[in-house]
């Protein structure tokens, strides 16, 4: 398998506070790659740099062998990197279907279509149905998002990410704020995607991480201290000392 | 250039600046902490002038009138907060704008009904009515000097209040984190009402200070409110320090523009053209400055850290 994302010697300082330190990371195509680490380890900063909301001080980020280090957010999204947010971020005043429509490439590519009801209508609507089917929200199709539960909103975010045909999906704590049963549903949902979708998963919930991840990287104080398969990570002494031991 | 004239104009600009600050500081507090857009702030400035004028004639003393008018305006501000502002806090800015615009119309018309369309001139006691000799050839009207001093005192008083007192700490905390203040056991509604009343009192005070110069007149509030908004936008919403800097900046630019722009224009255009365009360009200058600053610093000169 080949690298879809490769990060080389990434550094980021916030007014003297080191958030990312000489970081190297490779994500293999098709993997669910989890990043774990204690609070304040720099996970969110890393995600923001990969996605383009924050630019690194030095180092490089390659996506499918293209240097995307200095590319702005919306352009990265167009290249095929898509993300969800720690705090649910959807268009609350619109319907479920409209949210997903906005995520499809056909709407985006014809964004300056002013006068006709949207082009490739069938293609888009089929895609909406398909993605909603994947996350089990097909019933909610025409409901306003405001009426959805928190768990359903998170599912909607996954559906939007799917609709965007992302080559790399960044999930920033998808389990945050979910109840136990909702967490199980989310794990099952992500499991369904395993093998079909490359996912970079940042998550606190260790059960979820070990149930889903093909590979895990451990981030402590802005540095990756270990990368490997779940079993190896579980037994890595450095990780146990720095992270699991204290948790 | 004539440096005496320049110095006098700088002092004139300073006087305009401190008055703008008095109006803008209340606006920026209410805006920054309560997230409430109050277009009717200028009407309170106007009420300050009218109430002070009436009291001056009733008591036959300008100073007594000011002392009595300040708490009256504070109470009016408090009442305004309870009946109009409070129900609108949870709404968006559009509703604030529409509601307080309605309030402007109501307050202005009521003032028209009470005081008539004519402005009211306020007589000053003799010791304030003359001039002060600052140097050999610089003389300034005593009252304008007084405005500068009172205005600066109020400005530093407010900065001290916001930065070094418990009330100020609560105000700053309330701006960034409402729940935290509530968690401290402070009644946030009372805190907001106090902030509102302080803001109203400062605006009313500005009206009382300007009235002996320009008279208390209808519509005076609407002239000042837009400039005051420019001040708080340039200074950064919610920042008292920013409001001070921006108010002085805009006071100076406006005054110096009016004073020297036509002479400057005459260098490269005909006298007639300069005389025609200079007044308009100098009126435009504060908006130019605002657009310029916002295009480089979209959140003003001193953006508040937390919002």
């Amino acid at each position: 398998m080949q690298n879809i994302l490769k990060i080389k010697n990434l550094n980021k300082n916030f007014g003297g506070v080191i958030a990312t330190k000489n970081l190297n990371l490779s994500v293999l195509d098709g993997d669910i790659h989890a990043i774990i680490g204690p609070n304040g380890a720099g996970k969110t900063t890393l995600v923001s740099q990969i996605f383009g909301q924050v630019f690194p001080d030095s180092g490089q980020i390659f996506f499918q062998n293209i240097d995307v280090t200095q590319i702005s957010e919306y352009k990265k999204s167009r290249l095929g990197i898509n993300r969800t947010f720690q705090i649910t971020s959807v268009m609350k005043s619109m319907t479920v279907s409209e949210n997903i429509q906005l995520a499809t490439d056909k709407i985006r590519e014809n964004s300056l279509n002013f006068f006709t009801t949207f082009t490739n209508k069938n293609y888009v609507l089929e895609k909406v149905d398909f993605c909603l089917g994947q996350v089990g929200l097909i019933e909610a199709n025409n409901q306003p998002v405001a009426s959805l539960s928190h768990g359903d909103c998170r599912k909607l975010e996954i559906a939007m990410a799917l609709a965007s045909d992302a080559k790399l999906l960044l999930l920033d704590e998808p389990m945050a704020g979910l109840g136990p049963s909702e967490t199980q549903e989310m794990i099952a949902l992500l499991n369904k995607l395993k093998g079909k979708q490359t996912i970079l998963l940042v998550e606190h919930d260790m059960d979820a991480v070990f149930a889903l991840a093909d590979r895990i990287s451990v981030l402590v104080s802005g540095e990756i201290i270990a990368t490997g398969e779940p079993n190896n990570i579980r037994h890595d002494s450095k990780v146990q000392k720095a992270y699991l031991g204290e948790a | 250039m004539d440096y005496t004239l320049l110095l006098i104009q700088v002092l004139n600009g300073l006087q305009l600046g401190v008055l703008l600050f008095l109006v803008a500081s209340g606006l920026t507090l209410v805006f920054g902490i309560l997230d409430f857009v109050n277009l009717a702030h200028g009407s309170i400035y106007m009420l300050g002038a009218f109430v002070c004028a009436s009291l001056t004639y009733a008591l036959d003393s300008y100073l007594l009138a000011v002392i009595l008018a300040l708490p009256i305006i504070g109470i009016i501000g408090y009442v305004f907060e309870v009946f109009l502002a409070r129900p609108l806090y949870s709404r968006d800015h559009l509703d604030h704008v529409l509601g307080t615009f309605g309030a402007i119309l109501v307050i202005d018309t009521i003032a028209h009904l009470i005081w008539g369309p004519a402005g009211i001139a306020i007589p000053l006691p003799n010791y304030l009515d003359g001039q002060i000799k600052i140097s050999e050839n610089i003389e300034l009207p005593t009252f304008r000097v007084l405005i500068i001093i009172v205005g600066l005192l109020a400005a530093f008083g407010l900065l001290w209040l916001v930065n070094f007192t418990r009330l100020g700490m609560l105000i700053r905390a309330g701006a960034s984190n409402r729940t935290m203040v509530s968690a401290l056991g402070i009644d946030i509604r009372t805190l907001f009402a106090i902030v509102f009343a302080i803001g109203a009192t400062l605006a009313g005070m500005a009206g009382m200070l300007i009235a002996p110069i320009t008279e208390a007149s209808l519509g005076m509030g609407n002239n000042v409110i837009i400039t005051a908004f420019v001040v708080i936008i340039v200074g950064g919403i919610g920042s008292v320090k920013g409001a001070l800097v921006a108010a002085l900046l805009i006071g100076l630019i406006d005054t110096l523009g009016r004073a020297f722009l036509d002479d400057f224009f005459k260098i490269f255009m005909s006298t007639a053209a300069a005389e025609n365009s200079a007044p308009a360009i100098s009126s435009m200058s504060i908006y130019l400055i605002m657009a310029l600053i916002l295009s480089f610093k979209p959140n003003g000169l001193f953006p508040p850290r937390l919002r």
């Binding site: - | 004239l5 001139a121 003359g130 009252f143 002996p212 320009t214 519509g219 005389e275």
Partner: protein
């Protein structure tokens, strides 16, 4: 929506059927904003004129419909249209402000109605925009400052600093003074005017002070006059830079200035075509009754408004109430055959008055009220300088 429309129709029928036999005069003035202080004075004078006429011109009832221009040209035009189309007035009069008159002019003249200005006298309407159906009951803007310039020449004033608001009349006033004044103008400031006019003149006064001029000439009508006079007083310019003004110190500002005790302006001189002390029968009756009813001296705005109504009444009588006889109205107005409070005057080819201009001084009357009295006649039968540019014969 339908109900509102229905209500409007209803009101309109009631009103129009009740007043069919009357002669309606539309009177546009400023009734809101601080400038309403002028409008109220004019309104009072109009009502006094109606009272003196017993509401009739000969046997014909006259009714006056007032319109508020809100001190803005486009509102003024809008209200003029409403008076013409909704109230269906027979004749339009009033107008304090030159820019409002300029904006409204076309509506009235296109409708074939007579337009009479009770105050504004913009130069354009005396020259290339003159019209047979437009009459001035006041003066052309340039005339009063021209008289002032003549006064300066006589008094030996060599240099002047000039301040005026930046609008049509302000520019005419400046042009007027420059027309006759033989000395040098050392500085000039045009300040912002309109609903949010500039009222703090500190920067301009400081410039004027150091300019070294012999005198300061200003034009600040209405609400601005009080503010200006006070600041002039506070800046301590009284002895350094004597103040000369037109349309600034008048019956409206004097009571206010007296209440605030600005004794500095007693003795200051202004020019005008009218004065409360003018000795003629009509003026005595007007001034006395005005004082009795409103407790203060009338301003020149009031005098001109009073004249306007009497002038219209004389024309209505001349055509015996037939308002469709525009030619008849026109020739009656042109003869100025009524008892004007300024005394006898005549009309030039551009329908602006040819009249006297007086130098007046601010004095205290026998009751202790401040007013003005005539001290000299500057111009006799003076015609405005634009008459030659008007195509009318």
């Amino acid at each position: 929506m339908k109900k509102v429309m229905a209500a409007i129709i209803f009101c309109n029928f009631v009103v129009s059927s009740a007043v069919a036999a009357e002669i309606k005069i539309g009177f546009v003035t400023t009734l809101t904003t601080p400038a309403a202080v002028i409008g109220e004075d004019m309104k009072n004078a109009v009502n006094l004129a109606l009272e003196h006429l017993n509401g009739k011109a000969g046997s014909h009832k006259i009714e006056v419909v007032f319109g508020d221009d809100g001190f803005a040209p486009d509102t003024g035009k809008q209200v003029t249209d409403r008076l013409l189309k909704q109230d269906k007035v027979d004749i339009i009069a009033g107008y304090i402000w030159s820019h409002v008159l300029l904006a409204s002019r076309k509506s009235v003249l296109d409708a074939g109605k007579i337009l009479i200005s009770s105050n504004a006298g913009p130069s354009q309407m005396a020259s290339k925009l003159c019209h047979e159906n437009f009459f001035s009951a006041s003066w052309q803007n340039d005339q009063t400052p021209m008289a002032m310039g003549e006064v300066f020449n006589k008094a030996g004033i060599k240099s002047l600093y000039i301040m005026a608001p930046n609008y049509a009349a302000g520019k005419d006033m400046v042009a007027g003074i420059e027309r006759t004044f033989k000395g040098q103008v050392v500085g000039k400031d045009l300040t912002k005017w309109g609903a949010d006019a500039q009222l703090d003149f500190s920067a301009e006064l400081a410039k004027a002070k150091v300019s070294g001029a012999d005198g300061l000439f200003v034009f600040y009508p209405g609400a601005a006059s009080g503010a200006f006079t006070k600041q002039y007083h506070q800046a301590g310019l009284k002895d350094l830079l004597p103040l000369y003004s037109v349309f600034t110190i008048d019956g409206i500002s004097l009571p206010k200035l007296q209440a605030a005790n600005f004794s500095g302006i007693v003795g200051s001189k202004v020019t005008q075509q009218w004065d409360p002390s003018l000795d003629n029968q009509a003026n005595k009756k007007f001034v006395n009754d005005f004082k009795k009813q409103f407790g203060k001296y009338p301003s020149f705005y009031a005098a001109q408004s009073y004249d306007t109504i009497n002038m219209i009444a004389s024309a209505v009588m001349a055509v015996d109430g037939d308002m469709s006889d525009v030619a008849g109205l026109r020739s009656a107005l042109k003869s100025a055959n009524y008892n004007s409070v300024r005394g006898k005057y005549s009309y030039g080819n551009n329908n602006f008055p040819i009249q006297n201009f007086y130098l007046r001084e601010v004095v205290e009357d026998s009751d202790g009220n401040w007013t003005t009295e005539v001290v000299d006649t500057v111009f006799t039968n003076h015609q405005d300088p634009f008459a030659a540019d008007c195509k009318l014969k």
